[in-house]
Symmetry: C2
Subunit: 141 residues, 2 copies
DNA sequence: GTAGAATCTAGACTGCAATCTAGGTCAAGC
DNA sequence: GCTTGACCTAGATTGCAGTCTAGATTCTAC
């Protein structure tokens, strides 16, 4: 199934390579109903994916990596699966997630500033050899 | 212990309020040796914290919230506890964490761009009423 | 036609980081 | 002095998100 694809059929291993997900994760996602359609099988029962499944998985990975829980992806998948008519709900879900990602970035940036401040302090003290007694959390340790 | 502090003694509940951590988490942190010193106790066995413990916990929270695992915080605490002389190691640990935080922010920003793109697409289609058929992961769903 | 790689299922297991439980003890206000 | 709320320990449990196992089957290449 990996070779000279007659068109676009992909094995689970191909999809794993293409998405960076493990085969276990792909089967898990299917159990969790994160796909947009029932993945077809060969006569022998092996999964046959199409490129659109890979596309979808890449989006799912983005959502997951940016902190959306499986349950959120599942809700989005369910909306998409249920066809046209619920676009405002999909939009709301995405907007909500966008907000949480922005908040996350803001939090990380705030933490980064503090951490970077510590780094600068330590660099200075290590360079000067004046490091003794360094520790108290702000702004020293 | 919460009232008119004679100086600065804090109960576990006070510290929980001050740091946003739960009392369970504070006891857990102590078992994990994340503190810079053994927390003293009253005659009756109750923990007595000082403001410096709160300061330290606030830094720990920043490190945790920015993705440093407990084991990392523990290593840092151990370095600080073991006194002057290892500042270059502390610096290395903080620099390493700073790098991972920057990477995390970069990843989130990349995801955010994709998500925001979807949001824009959905907004447009919902507004136009042309939403039918929207779904394929890039750039539609 | 057969060896070896890849895949299948159901279900058990992992790791992290708390969080909660049970069964008490302690302390502060009235 | 007593009630009520905060606190104590040790250990069990939770939740999330995979990840792995075992044992069987299928597919691919020679």
């Amino acid at each position: 199934m990996s070779e000279h694809a007659t068109g676009n059929a992909l094995s689970i291993g191909d999809v794993a390579k293409a998405t960076g997900l493990g085969v276990h994760a792909l089967r898990f996602f299917e159990r969790e109903e994160l796909f947009l359609r029932p993945i077809p099988r060969t006569a022998g029962g092996q999964r046959v994916y199409g490129p659109e499944d890979v596309e979808w998985l890449l989006l799912c990975s983005r959502l997951r990596d940016s902190g959306m829980p499986i349950a959120g992806v599942k809700r989005f998948a369910r909306l998409v699966r249920s066809g046209p008519g619920n676009e405002p709900e999909r939009l709301a879900l995405l907007e909500e997630h966008e907000r949480t990602v922005r908040d996350k970035i803001a939090d990380l940036t705030a933490s980064l500033e503090i951490i970077h401040g510590k780094v600068l302090t330590y660099r200075k003290h290590v360079k000067d050899g004046t490091a003794a007694g360094l520790w108290s959390p702000t702004p020293s340790p």
